[in-house]
Subunit: 133 residues, 2 copies
DNA sequence: CCTTGACCTTCGAGTAACTCGAAGGTTTAC
DNA sequence: GTAAACCTTCGAGTTACTCGAAGGTCAAGG
């Protein structure tokens, strides 16, 4: 398979695969006589695995370690699990922060709409500037 | 005031202020004879305003436009409001996506723990690999 | 045989919003 | 007079790609 075929099979962009290879997440594949990358079915599986971990927000550095372990024949279970646990904490924090931001945006928008109804010439920036620093 | 004083007063890093200046979000301040940046109270207010918009996740490009309007004496209300409205939609999407990821991480962790209890030698990666592509 | 189009290659730069380090000048206090 | 704590600019690093340029390869059609 050539790069765009393996990419399509794994649901990825060819450029992303080259990038993953360049940072060591994916191994260097065999090359054809003219220098084209050649992939097999096992590469599709590996790339899907990587894509899955990325979809779970694991950073490429973690994924690189996991893939390295896998290639050395070691089961990367513990690493995957602790990465997932760390990630769930990070995701929770992120959700909390975004929820706070969302609430505040809503409040400001509602206030600005109310002000606008009363005095169409008044300014929302007033609201932004007056709100807690 | 020197840069680290105005930064402290506005709750920011001096390096960030230099960066904001370099990208045109903040105006170039006056300089002392030896080239040090000199700020006044009105700068503290402006920097707090910017910090506030950043805390609301508005991108620097939007903030730049808003600050520009403000400096030209125009009320940036409409821009602020539409930026906030756009942002609340983006934040909602982000929260939804993170919630999905969180649920899936939780599921995988729970499954992997269950598997681990039954067969301590089995591997969580199995779970990751088998789960929907 | 030649061309056309769709591939492929590498390399460098661009994205967002900072953050850090190096190399060097200034100010303040002791 | 000198040391600490500032300040300056510039360039590079961060994360995870994405895009464009310049050029090589391959299969099909005329």
């Amino acid at each position: 398979m050539r790069i765009s075929q393996v990419a399509a099979a794994a649901g990825m962009n060819p450029a992303t695969l080259r990038y993953y290879e360049s940072v060591g997440v994916l191994p260097e594949p065999a090359r054809s006589a003219s220098g084209y990358r050649r992939y097999g079915e096992e590469d599709v599986a590996l790339i899907r695995f990587v894509r899955r971990l990325r979809a779970l927000r694991l950073p490429l550095d973690d994924i690189k370690q996991i893939v390295d372990l896998r290639r050395r024949g070691e089961a990367p279970c513990a690493v995957v699990r602790s990465a997932m646990r760390r990630e769930v904490v990070a995701v929770d924090e992120r959700i909390l922060e975004l929820t706070r931001v969302r609430t505040e945006l809503e409040t400001l928008i509602a206030e600005s709409d109310a002000v606008d109804d009363e005095w169409p010439e008044s300014c929302v920036c007033h609201v932004v500037e007056r709100s807690k620093p």
